[in-house]
């Protein structure tokens, strides 16, 4: 088993708030890794640090063995390390198909491909993925007019369109209609099993992450509190206390 992402001693402070404090963890390839923790424990900050959204104060982050902590967001994305946003971000004045088309990988973009049209294979893939998340019928609607949950699904489909090696999902089920959550979990599993995309998932909903992840890290106050299999995490005293104490 190879480690796709390795985080070593990463720290990040905002003014006086130490959001990430000496965090070390690994994301193994081809698996689903969970990241849990009370509100404000530093989960989103860690994602931001990994994808180059802000410079880190110290430590090292590697992706496929390559140091990425000094790279910019776009460079990291082009390596195949992508994230979705907790607040869901899509291109709200474009329709769903257009959102998908512009999400193709930009790894091998050159000046001559900048003006190309998309081939039928690309459009087909876009439509196939929209069908995969259940948005096929709405593909010609302006994406900003979709419901919040649908926008979240679209953002997920856009990430798949980019065919990343590793996808970081920030609370993918938040705001999704509870009746649709099981379907979404199934799709996340298929993204890993069928498309070979390694997932690193922040999730607030405990039953969801317990059923989804192969192994879980728990953060509290910016530090790694516990790490283990879902069963171990579920029964870990420290985790239970952190969650109870935080609410």
């Amino acid at each position: 088993m190879t480690e796709l992402i390795e985080v070593h001693g990463v720290s990040k402070a905002f003014g006086g708030v130490i959001a990430n404090n000496d965090i070390s963890l690994v994301v193994p390839e081809g698996r689903i890794t969970g990241l849990i923790g009370p509100n404000g424990s530093g989960k989103t900050t860690l994602f931001n640090s990994i994808v180059g959204y802000h410079p880190i104060d110290g430590g090292s982050i590697t992706f496929e063995g390559q140091e990425i902590s000094d790279m910019r967001v776009q460079q990291i994305a082009r390596l195949g390390l992508l994230r979705t946003f907790q607040q869901t971000r899509i291109y709200s004045k474009m329709n769903c198909v257009e959102n998908m088309l512009i999400s193709v990988p930009h790894r091998h973009e050159t000046y001559s491909t900048l003006f190309r049209k998309y081939g039928p294979d690309v459009t087909e893939k876009a439509e196939h993925l929209l069908e995969f998340v259940g948005l096929y019928q709405k593909r010609h609607l302006i994406s900003g007019d979709l419901s919040f949950g649908q926008q979240k699904l679209l953002e997920f489909a856009m990430a798949l369109m980019n065919a990343p090696r590793d996808l970081l999902l920030d609370e993918p089920t938040a705001g999704i209609n509870p009746t649709l959550i099981n379907g979404l979990i199934d799709r996340l599993r298929r993204a890993t099993a069928e498309m070979g995309i390694t997932l690193f998932v922040i999730e607030h909903n405990m039953p969801v992450i317990m059923g989804l992840a192969d192994n879980i890290y728990c953060l509290a106050n910016g530090r790694v509190l516990a790490h283990g299999l879902p069963d171990e995490i579920q029964n870990d005293e420290r985790v239970i206390n952190a969650y109870l104490g935080a609410h």
């Binding site: 994808v51 959204y53 967001v73 776009q74 994305a77 082009r78 992508l82 994230r83 946003f85 607040q87 869901t88 971000r89 899509i90 291109y91 709200s92 004045k93 474009m94 329709n95 257009e98 088309l101 512009i102 999400s103 990988p105 930009h106 790894r107 973009e109 000046y111 491909t113 900048l114 003006f115 190309r116 049209k117 998309y118 069908e131 259940g134 948005l135 096929y136 019928q137 709405k138 593909r139 010609h140 609607l141 302006i142 994406s143 900003g144 007019d145 979709l146 419901s147 919040f148 926008q151 856009m158 980019n162």
Partner: protein, 361 residues
Amino acid sequence: MNITKGQVLLYGGILTAAIAAPLVFPNYTFQFTVLWVMILLALTWDVLGGQMGYNSLGNIFFFGAGMYVCTIVQIGLYYDVAAYTSAYGAVKVEFTAEQYFTGLTLGLIAAALASVVFAVVFGWVVFGLRGPYFAIGTLGVALSAGELAGAWEYIGGGGGIALPTYPGEPDERSLFFYILCSLLAVATFFTLKKVYSGRFGLAINAIRDDEEKAEGMGIHTKRYKTIGWSISAFFLGISGGLFGNMIGFIEPLEVAFPTVTFGIFMVVMCLLGGKGTLWGPVVGATLFHAFKEITWTYMLGWQWVALGTLIIVLVVFFQQGIVGWVQEKWPERFGISVDDRVVAVSKPEVRANPESHEAAQ
């Protein structure tokens, strides 16, 4: 691409009108030429302002830069520029027909290339700015270019430069510039139509909707922004060169870098027609030019008040513009509809605009 009957009618109608206009109303050829230039100004402004969400107030810079570069090349090919400009047109200098057309051709090519170089260089600086800072930053570029040209004696300073005279009859001259300006505006339109329809168009739309997301998805945002500005600058530079020659005399503030007239008009025209659409700038420029000519003719003294009122009405009540309004009113005609052929979802909803607008941030 299949061409519909509507398209044939539309393009055929425009072509007919374009050919007929200067022949039927020869006294207005100059006004028609200015209309084509206005269409070009609006189209090129919309690349950044409408399609990419970067509101530039300084695009007129490329117009003026192209104008000066073209002029200097036209003169410099055959005379000493400093001697020519210091004479302030007092000494009549003859250009043969061959010299004139050679100079104009090379001048326009130089204007186009120089404008692109300027776009790349300034883009490098101003694309670090967002929102109002970008607008003010670009405005600063245009204003200081006007001041700089006014202080630079080599290119005529504030006194300006008289262009080489056209070797032919006045009527022929008007028609000559009408044809060139209309062809250039049409070329601009079809170039933009082409580039908007592919990856480039979607990329700049994505930058408009959420640049940070676009960066996060790995889009080469800087590259697209620079290229978008360069395309605008390319056509603006040529149009400036042509416009200077058509006027026959250029000076920095009124002709080359008219920041508060043409520089603002191009924005107003896009707002009026519908920014971020291909046809909006064309519709807006045409109506605006008509509006302007009418108010300037019949409301002299009040024309600026009328213009100000138009701007306020647009900004407050009619932000989507004419084409934008049409698209909102009949979305199905623009392909914005639910497709219920393939039922991939368990519960198909057949509503075009469901619940939350707020969810779209």
